[in-house]
Symmetry: C2
Subunit: 344 residues, 2 copies
């Protein structure tokens, strides 16, 4: 009986890796939101001086990683492994950033679940002894995502009431082995375990209703996590989903209630936190960057300051594809969860 495994989907660590740094870079709209003051860099211009939005997106990814390392005075050469991805086809933001960083790289595609997927994998690789320091990152950009997934921005199309705004932003975290003595920006945050998600699909076909496509996956992963760890929602100070948005969060609460899970004030969604209702972003934020910057800019600070002791960070991905959509397919979802704890 292998005790690192709790059931089919969940794992726990006996020498929990430390999450010692985080960095978040966002666009101007995100900077004007309620969390604006928490981010390391707020871009005045969402091309960040580059020739295209795509090039700005990869620059955010690269600079977020560099910034997370700088906070710990760690050179890029001090990191063993880079894990991450983004929403662009062929994850070009991550790939080109990885080229600049020249850190050994494993590319991931989990759509908006990427921040959690990278943290979960990175923690397993550290706890397992295959790496000492791993950088995990995810990025998205409103302007690149709109033209890839929906319509050219120049068209000036109207959004639907269930639409969410893809966050322009990149988040990066630095994980190190328990015994690693790198200078810590966050002194006391550890990754205790997590739950690997399954692809779940209740048949949503509307590319403007991502929250509904992801909510079933979030509920499925949370149910598996609680069942396999023998916990209930009350054992967490906070259960955070990635980017369900307003409508998706309602659906998530209903699905949890159906499964007998009492969220009782424990749940917050990054897509709901990052923009204010006055910002005309319909149902909230979305994209890899949404949970990436909310975690690294805001939530980790909350933990470090002691406001949150144990958090389940569950980034949610809508595995949406224009090609699949045009062929009549629905939008499957996935959610991966990591348990973060503040220790001494």
């Amino acid at each position: 009986m292998n005790t690192k495994r709790l059931g089919r989907q969940s794992v726990r660590f006996f020498a929990p890796p430390r999450l010692i740094s985080g960095a978040a870079i966002v666009g101007d709209v995100e900077g004007e939101g309620p969390l604006g003051s928490c981010f390391d860099i707020v871009l005045a211009d969402d091309t960040w001086g580059e020739e295209s939005w795509e090039k700005a997106e990869r620059k955010m990814f690269e600079q977020a990683v560099r910034l997370a390392l700088q906070k710990c005075a760690l050179p890029v050469s001090g990191v063993d492994l880079l894990l991450g991805g983004d929403l662009l086809n062929q994850i070009i933001s991550a790939n080109f950033a990885a080229r600049e960083l020249a850190i050994p790289f494993l590319g991931l595609y989990g759509a908006c679940s990427t921040m959690a997927e990278s943290l979960l994998l990175g923690s397993m690789l550290i706890d397992g002894g295959y790496a000492n320091r791993v950088a995990c990152a995810a990025t998205s950009h409103f302007s690149t995502a709109e033209r890839q997934y929906r319509f050219p921005l120049e068209m000036g199309g109207q959004t639907t009431p269930t639409a969410q705004r893809t966050v322009t932003g990149a988040g990066a975290s630095l994980l190190v082995a328990a015994e690693d003595d790198t200078k810590r920006h966050f002194a006391s945050i550890r990754v205790m375990g997590g739950t690997i998600g399954r692809v779940v699909d209740l048949g949503i076909t509307d590319a403007n209703n991502m929250g509904a496509a992801m909510a079933p996956a979030a509920a499925d992963t949370l149910a598996a996590h609680l069942r396999e760890t023998g916990r209930n929602a009350a054992d967490y100070d906070l259960i955070v989903t990635g980017d369900l948005g307003r409508f998706g969060s309602e659906m998530f609460h209903e699905l949890c209630a159906d499964k007998g899970i009492d969220l009782a004030g424990k749940h917050r969604d990054c897509g709901n936190m990052i923009f204010s209702p006055q910002q005309k972003v319909d149902c909230g934020g979305s994209g890899c960057g949404c949970s990436g910057v909310t975690l690294n800019g805001f939530l980790l600070r909350q933990m470090e300051e002691g406001a949150v002791r144990r958090m389940l960070f569950m980034a949610t991905g809508a595995l949406m594809s224009p090609t699949a959509g045009m062929q009549g397919d629905s939008i499957p979802g996935i959610a991966h969860a990591v348990v973060l704890e503040r220790g001494e």
Copy 2:
């Protein structure tokens, strides 16, 4: 000093996971090639009865996984984790197949390096104690890749002399923990370790010259592997690259010679093996499926039969993107390596 790590990029296992099964499904052109008799299923029609090539591609991924499990009489529910990806935007082949299989899933994007990326990650997660049985898979399809990456097939465009033909095929392997007692289709193959690649880019911009884009990454990973493990090429019976093709292989040999690596008859490339010179495929095969089916259909059998004892399987990915290409970017490459050994 953590002895599972050999340098920054390489790892070794002390309880090497076993690779107990493999399955390969290919299209008709691949079936007519020199390895045709090795594959489990050769499609007569490359839509496999589906409405689109994309749906056929995901069916190949799903069925290759199912077939690999069937050879060990293992139900889908007996697998802890599925790792894999493909070349389509948002890795829809893998995502939709993962939905049907309902196995906990971590999506990867390593372009044509995916088969090695999934085996390397899967082995680390098993050796680390986070999973007992992991299915690893990769797929590609000539007709979906052409229209996504180059031109619609209906256009009837001419290929250039350096072009490679994307392999229509899916390969799947089943990894299990050393002590796992699942019935073995391959009795004696183990994953001993591997090397995680870096993104390398020598500035190739021609989407019809993938081999040249990948060769520098293959040489970089091989050099790191030999340096960190203290081995030389002669320690391997076979060093296999994924899909450098004829031209890329020549470049790989030159780059290795520059680094002082003597390949001395040890190197073979899946892209060169899968088609015959008579098949008018220009520089050979490419795509995730190329190394996926050559490994699982041919190379693992060679090992099982004793013809190859120690092999370095190094799948190579061209991180090419139409969007990046249109913005004037070059094509970065990456290569990940796994060490496979025949034991008793």
